[in-house]
Assembly symmetry: C2
Homo-oligomer: 353 residues x 2
């Protein structure tokens, strides 16, 4: 598979064609139902078809990017760091939540090792692209070099290219990385202008004292590194994570190659925000899967300009919300394909048609 | 199949066993993920298993109850009355939105003729239980007799009995009836205490003038018939509809026979509210599929005490929101069955576990 560099991907991003969007809506409006009555399902179908030129999904794939975080030494997570590789093994064995939910909607799962602090042997479903064995502690310096930030973005772009080559018409983002709500909240604060306290929450389940500490750690990291919110690669390098870079690259690459991408929850949205700030039209390719319980999520979604599809009080990551949203996008496409027109069904149009 | 009368069904309703709910949650909490991180999926799994004793759905079925409404002569709908039988034929041919969405989630669709103003020949998937050829115009008198209200409820109960006999573990409600947001809004106003203007909206797409007229028609009907909100059968008889009675009966029957029931949108929720007021434990068996665009929906859901699963700006009826919600409930059960425990997955539990 050909390696595509970051700038080439950015330069190839185009807006979604508004004439194509209108043509799909016209097709929907000929169907025997009150106009607009399928609500957001119509939006999903419209965007998917305008982006891909298809009204059916050949294959769906969730990429669960995994990485470790130096900032875990500050006590920001309820889980120990060794859980990152343990969960990677669980993904590969098909025993995690993302596996169950992806099976439910018929999506494949690929795990991408972006920077787990463990050396994995090759395994089916595992894509080895380690940029480093965990980031550095961003409370004491930059999480990674700018070169590594670009490298992690380019791994994500490569995954989008893989989708294009293999006929994957709908990609999903996912994450695994103990401690990764901390860099995600740092990105949220840096890029939305909210205070750290406004965008920082309990992650996998820390208590009040740990939450106070987590906020302080993020404030320290932001003050120390002074990431430039106008330079998304700088933000990723100073306070990000390898898996967040992979997610950002996948989202960017999907926009570059015309592939709709379902963005999971809080961590994935931090990645999607970096991608969206690298090119404004990236957001047109994003389907925001769900509203996370993490309090900083809404501010990032607002900046991206996408409304979440689901709101089920989830806060798991892995790509779980994305898998569920894929099922709804697929339902929208089935309605587009299979609902008869007023003419074909012999139904009298209403006065508002 | 044995006919069950209304009082027998009401008398057999029991609360969902709280010990069973707790046992399912304990099973969920042993799975390798942060506690509670699957949010409402955990609630869906907990309730489904506690109600049915199963963790897998053998069969799902949507019942789309159809009926006509005398009140359409007041000009309350954007569609002409003949669309009700036309859409029934569309359902039977598999060309409507509910057919497409039910196929997507693997649910069967049965159409129940409760009171369409058309004589149907027998057809596969069609259940003929006509109570009358459309209700009377409730702006000029009661919509139906009390005996017919009981009869329509008992048809719904019979459908729940059918589910029990045929191994249908998850039932869904649906509706078809031109004009039926009008009786539904009337029921909402009568049973929630809101004003008619607060719960009445555009249905399939009426304009401002028609909306003003619709509100006036409902106010006239409520003043004329004076339905007793403490007597749900009286409410159904005075201002309801045959298909709304069928829905109410299905919901009540599902509670009686221990079958979880997915309640679709505005019209279905009017039926579910009647059922919930007939016995307080009915609500424990209800899964509220989605938040409709109809402004009176939220007030009825609040009275039932169930929070909608989806919020996708839908306003179609037929059972469409219910079909989508069935897919999410099934996903929740798959996660329950297939996600490994901390022990089995070799994952270290967090400090909050």
């Amino acid at each position: 598979m050909s390696r595509i560099d970051l700038q080439t991907a950015i330069d190839s991003i185009r807006p979604v064609d508004s004439a194509k969007l209108a043509a799909v809506q016209q097709r929907i409006d000929s169907q025997a139902k009150p106009q607009g009555a399928l609500g957001r399902l119509e939006e999903f179908a419209r965007r998917f078809v305008a982006i891909t030129g298809r009204d059916e999904i050949r294959a769906k794939r969730v990429f669960t990017f995994a990485g470790d975080h130096g900032v875990t030494e500050e006590g920001v997570s309820a889980f120990p760091r060794e859980v990152t590789p343990q969960m990677v093994f669980n993904f590969l064995e098909g025993g995690a939540s993302i596996n169950a939910l992806a099976r439910q909607v018929g999506a494949a799962v690929n795990v991408v090792d972006m920077g787990v602090d463990h050396e994995f042997a090759p395994a089916e479903g595992l894509i080895l692209r380690k940029v480093g064995r965990g980031t550095a502690n961003f409370a004491k310096g930059p999480a990674m070099s700018r070169a590594d930030a670009v490298r992690s973005l380019e791994v994500g772009i490569e995954m989008a290219a893989l989708c294009r080559e293999q006929g994957v018409d709908l990609a999903g983002t996912g994450d695994m990385g103990i401690g990764n709500t901390t860099p995600s909240a740092a990105i949220a604060a840096c890029m939305t202008g909210h205070t750290v306290a406004e965008v920082t929450f309990r992650g996998t389940g820390i208590d009040d004292a740990a939450l106070v500490n987590k906020i302080r750690v993020i404030e320290t990291g932001l003050a120390l590194n002074a990431p430039d919110p106008k330079d998304p690669v700088d933000v990723l390098a100073k306070i990000g994570g390898f898996e967040i870079g992979g997610i950002a690259g996948l989202v960017l690459g999907c926009a570059a190659f015309g592939i709709p991408v379902v963005v999971d929850g809080f961590i994935s949205t931090a990645g999607a925000l970096i991608a969206s700030e690298l090119h404004p039209n990236v957001r047109d390719y994003i389907f925001a899967a769900h509203q996370s319980v993490e309090i900083g999520h809404g501010a990032m979604l607002a900046k991206i300009g996408q409304r979440p599809i689901l709101d089920l009080d989830m806060r798991l990551g892995e790509g779980t919300g994305g898998a569920l949203a894929m099922g709804l996008i697929e339902a929208a496409l089935r309605a587009l394909r299979e609902v008869k027109t007023f003419d074909d069904a012999g139904v009298t149009p209403g006065s508002e048609q």
